[in-house]
């Protein structure tokens, strides 16, 4: 009962790692107070309000529990008062019928209160779990609706950390705080009322220590918070170091930097220890301090109570049992005050976490105002870029007055130096990014006027960085078209030249891909991504450096296999490798955001311009 609350309080904070400290949002964690305290609280309440029925039942049950718990000490005191001592003779007499009745009442009340406590526990866990579930779902759904630009410009670790650490933090606090705040307030009020019933003088005496409690706990939690914030930041740093070094472990190994990595880690860990010790010492002081204050209170009431009994004063009328009850009540109300003080730091952290969550939720969705329906099946695949202007960063245009016209069924290749804007063309066509000026037409329709889902459904895309999911090979290929049959999947794998290596693995299509994809070579991963796009059966196919790690013979086989497939389809190919682009109907050479020349391989070569130079360069200096 004198258990210091301090160390329980430390745990949820210590257990939560994450890399929340980095990035632009990391700075926010350092701000000790959340920016919009009440606004955030109101929004959080709305989330809790989603389970309004549960909340109200919970509050109701808590009201019962509090009342029942308050009745306990009163009955206990009354029960002890049935045992009376004759001050003169010292003879003890007991009023047994009354004792039995009172004890019977107590038993009944305890039974009820236990039952109610059980319901309270059930409802509270339901409430917190439901809230977290909704919060997570909303956040995830929001993430899938965010523009790519947001994802590109924010640390993935930071987004992840909001999804896990911050949500977890909020949920823990909701489970503990909403319940305990309410019951604390009820208990304080109730205990006060009960104590007043016995004696207002004793109540005042019991109150003497309250200001002390508040001063001590707020001072302590101020220091605690400072160190806990620092601790979270360092923990994040540590997480970041581990993640980066483990992901880049091969490089660490190759350059023999293990020792340095360990040294850096030790350094961060030492700083973490330093801060954590201080955070916990401040937290650890809380327990004993409250204990001292609690005991002081106990002593005060006992001494004064005793004195009043020996030297009865006219306006203080009190029995031994009353003292016992008042002692119990004073404990009952000093505890919630401690608790509120104790949870102060945690509540602030959670609200800061909630702000980080709401910040994502408040980010505008990807623009998707298109209403015109796009008949994906009837699409021809004419693409027109007209006067397109675009920049990732304002003032640094990537594309300027960009024109490009692709006829249905054409195979277009885009070449150009690194940073010339090749990938940008893809980003704009798929509307991963929005153009700043001009328009992009698909079969004569502005792509901004059709729903994004329709637009993207008509485009199959294989990206520079192969993205595969940690699932079976089958599931990864079928991602292109979920309802595809196994035959169709196998045919797609065959087209992408992937079936040969897949069949060579004993578990074939059921092979689970590792997180890092380490069980496949880079080239094999690219083949799977191609198979996925082939299965999607799009009207327009975009290959952005899709075969850079595939050997040229395999690439040729893929190209041959795709010839029949690509009839009546438009394809856009970005590559450095000549063999990849040579067969294209039109080759476009990008330079500084504009097309500097275009034409077929032969035309461009005979023109002797930029392309011819690029082309010759491939062999320059090799023929020694």
């Amino acid at each position: 009962m004198n258990q210091p609350k301090g160390q329980q309080q430390n745990r949820p904070m210590a257990g939560n790692g994450g890399r929340g400290s980095g990035g632009p949002m990391g700075a926010r964690m350092n701000v000790q107070k959340p920016k919009h305290l009440w606004k955030t609280i109101r929004r959080l309440l709305q989330y809790i309000g989603g389970s309004r029925n549960i909340l109200f039942s919970l509050l109701l049950v808590m009201l019962f529990v509090t009342v029942l718990e308050l009745a306990g000490p009163a009955l206990q005191g009354a029960a002890i008062d049935t045992i009376t001592v004759d001050t003169a003779t010292g003879h003890i007499s007991v009023d047994f019928p009354k004792l039995w009745t009172l004890l019977g009442c107590m038993a009944g009340i305890f039974l009820c209160s236990s039952l109610m406590t059980y319901f309270q526990g059930l409802l509270a866990s339901k409430l917190s779990q439901n809230t977290v579930y909704t919060l997570r779902s909303d956040l995830f759904a929001k993430i899938t609706r965010l523009p790519i630009g947001y994802i590109d410009n924010h640390k993935h670790g930071d987004i992840m950390s909001r999804m896990t650490n911050d949500v977890e933090n909020v949920s823990n606090t909701i489970a503990q705080s909403v319940a305990s705040l309410f019951s604390s307030v009820l208990t304080v009020i109730g205990a006060m009322v009960m104590m007043l019933r016995y004696s207002w003088v004793m109540t005042l005496i019991a109150f003497i220590t309250i200001p002390l409690t508040m001063v001590v706990s707020t001072t302590l939690s101020k220091y605690m918070r400072k160190y806990f914030v620092a601790q979270q930041k360092l923990l994040g740093e540590l997480n970041g170091q581990v993640e980066e070094m483990v992901t880049g472990y091969k490089t660490v190994m190759a350059y023999g930097r293990e020792e340095e990595a360990v040294k850096r880690f030790e350094d961060a860990s030492r700083r973490l220890r330093h801060v954590s010790i201080r955070a916990r010492i401040w937290g650890g002081v809380m327990g004993p301090c409250m204990n001292i204050i609690g005991n002081l209170n106990y002593l005060l009431i006992a001494t004064c109570g005793g004195l009043f009994i020996i030297r009865p004063v006219a306006w203080v009328n009190i029995s031994l049992g009353n003292i016992q009850s008042i002692l119990q009540y004073s404990k009952k109300f000093s505890r919630p005050i401690n608790e509120i003080a104790n949870q102060y730091a945690q509540i602030l952290t959670a609200i800061a976490g909630a702000e980080r969550i709401f910040e994502i939720l408040d980010t505008p969705d990807e623009i998707d105002e298109g209403k015109e329906e796009l008949a994906v099946e009837k699409l021809k695949g004419n693409i027109d870029f007209r006067h397109v202007a675009f920049s990732y960063v304002e003032g640094e245009p990537v594309l300027r007055d960009f024109h490009l016209s692709v006829k249905a069924g054409q195979k277009i290749a885009i070449v150009g130096a690194t940073g010339s804007g090749k990938t940008t063309v893809v980003n704009l066509l798929t509307r991963f990014y929005e153009i700043d000026g001009g328009e992009i037409l698909l079969d004569g329709v502005d792509i901004r006027s059709v729903p994004k889902a329709d637009l993207r459904r008509s485009i199959g895309i294989v990206l520079q960085d192969t993205v595969l999911f940690s699932d079976s090979i089958r599931a990864n290929i079928k991602y292109g078209r979920l309802e595809a049959t196994d035959e169709e999947m196998r045919a797609a794998a065959d087209t992408a030249n992937a079936d040969i290596f897949i069949e060579r693995i004993p578990t074939a299509y059921e092979t689970q891909l590792a997180e890092s994809g380490s069980n496949l070579s880079q080239g094999q991963r690219q083949l799977l991504a191609i198979a996925r796009a082939v299965l999607a059966d799009p009207k327009i196919l975009i290959l952005d450096e899709a075969t850079s790690s595939v050997d040229t013979r395999t690439e040729m086989q893929i190209q041959q296999a795709m010839v029949s497939l690509m009839e009546n389809r438009t394809s856009l190919i970005i590559a450095h490798r000549l063999s990849t682009i040579r067969d294209a109907d039109v080759i476009i050479v990008l330079k500084g955001g504009v097309i500097c020349e275009s034409g077929s391989h032969e035309e461009l070569l005979s023109r002797g311009g930029e392309y011819a130079t690029l082309y010759r360069n491939q062999f320059a200096g090799i023929a020694t």
Partner: protein, 579 residues
Amino acid sequence: MKLAKYLKPYWFLAILSPLLMVGEVMVDLMQPKLMSRIVDEGVLKGDVGLIVRTGLLMLGLVILGGAAGFLCAVTATKASQSFGHDLRCDAYSRVMGLSLEQTDDFTTGSLVTRLTNDISMVQDLVSMILRMFVRAPIFFVGGIIMAVSMNTSFALALVIALPIQLIVIFFLLSKASPLFGLVQKKLDRVNSVVQENVSGMRVVKAYVREDYENSRFDRANSELRDTNLRVLKLMSILNPILMLVMNFTVVAIILIGGYQADAQALHPGDIMAAVTYVTQILFSVMMVSMMFNSISRASASSKRIVEVLDSAPVIESGKEVPAATGDVCIEFSGVSFRYPGTAGLPVLSDISLQVHRGETVAVIGATGCGKTSLVNLVPRFYDATEGAVYVDGLNVKEWDLSALREKISFVMQKSELFSDTIANNIRWGKADADDDEIRAAAETAQAASFIEGFSEKYETFIAEKGASLSGGQKQRMSIARALVRRPEILILDDCTSALDLATEAKLQAALREQLKDTTVIMIAQRIASVRGADRIAVIEKDGRILHCAPHDELMQISATYRDIYQSQMKEGGAGHESA
């Protein structure tokens, strides 16, 4: 507990802390006794002096106890945090010594969790044990002694109540503990879905799979919620039952006390004290139950940490550091290789190849034929399954690992950059490289021009995993990093695939000029990249090398090579022959 040895250096603190806790507990235990003395001897007998004396004694004790409690918290914290720090550093340096196949097995995410969350969990447990494991039993035993010493009949109530509590606790915990592990697993699942979506967002959007992903997430999310609820439902039975037993015991104590008092064997004040003691005893039982709760949660964590600590590196360093003598720099002798833990055909089979000092050997072959696997064997990222790899005439297994790797620069297919400045990223190759060396390396790697284009040049900060750079820029940076150490052996694993043709040609020329004495193994897809090599090894589909010869000779003898050549050169061939 295997991890206990990490507490050893702090044994003094670890022992001191519980001792101090004993002090605090003693005070807490004495308090009700003193309290009842105030009531029975002071109040009832009207002895105000006694009340004040006892009161002051109590206050003194309380302060003493508080001080002991504070010092206990300090020592316990110091011990547990130092324990955590040592454990964390040890585990991390263990990870930094693991072989690739092992880190692959653990997966990055899991290693991160183990080194941070899991260790925090165990560390908190240690702190709690230091403070609570003593407190609870002392409260327990002390409370029993005090209560029973007042009147033996109180023992009866305890004899009934305690077993009930213990049974309830053990029953519930045995049911709940498997669920704790399950919760952890479900949480992992939620995290991995989020992670995949964040990093693979382009693919999700491109295939319009937002709804699919949402339902996938919903499954993971609701499974987590349901499992969590199962645990919470189970655990929410615990407290009400314990409270009920406790409260009923209090009722019983008062009843027994009433009869004893009626028999003139007991004072009312004693009953009050007894009620307090009994509550303390039963609370200590609840404390223990809480402790078991955290132990069963932390034991999963400690198991995961021990797994890391116990995994000895598969690849152990040899001792020898031979001088670079002889004509042959690298030799593969009858090497076969299959990735550890995989079945089926080997990736490489019976490869024999000698690379001479200062020679450039290119490796070419189909996707998945084992090119990367071959070069991985040189710096011992993996060990050959059969046969041996020799560097400077010594089997790499006998080499001192760090000396071996110091000789080699390895540029990977997938560039790995670290969130640091450009200069520091290049400095990875050579820790003490000065600015001129860095600039020279960047120059050779054709990276200087784009680096100079940044406003902060070499001090430009690179975002996580080089996200702010294009593929080609990343590759050139990692080449610069490899060059700055002027290695004896340079391995280039298809690391120019994202470079445009002009840049690659310039890079090739610069490399040839700068690396006259360096032995180079170069993997590439383009004939153009490999043509200039002294010899080209062609790996066949079945993982064997049939031919290793200069370009012109290969054109004559290797059908595979001719095939590759044809696939790239069939048109406009004449143009480049003359170039």
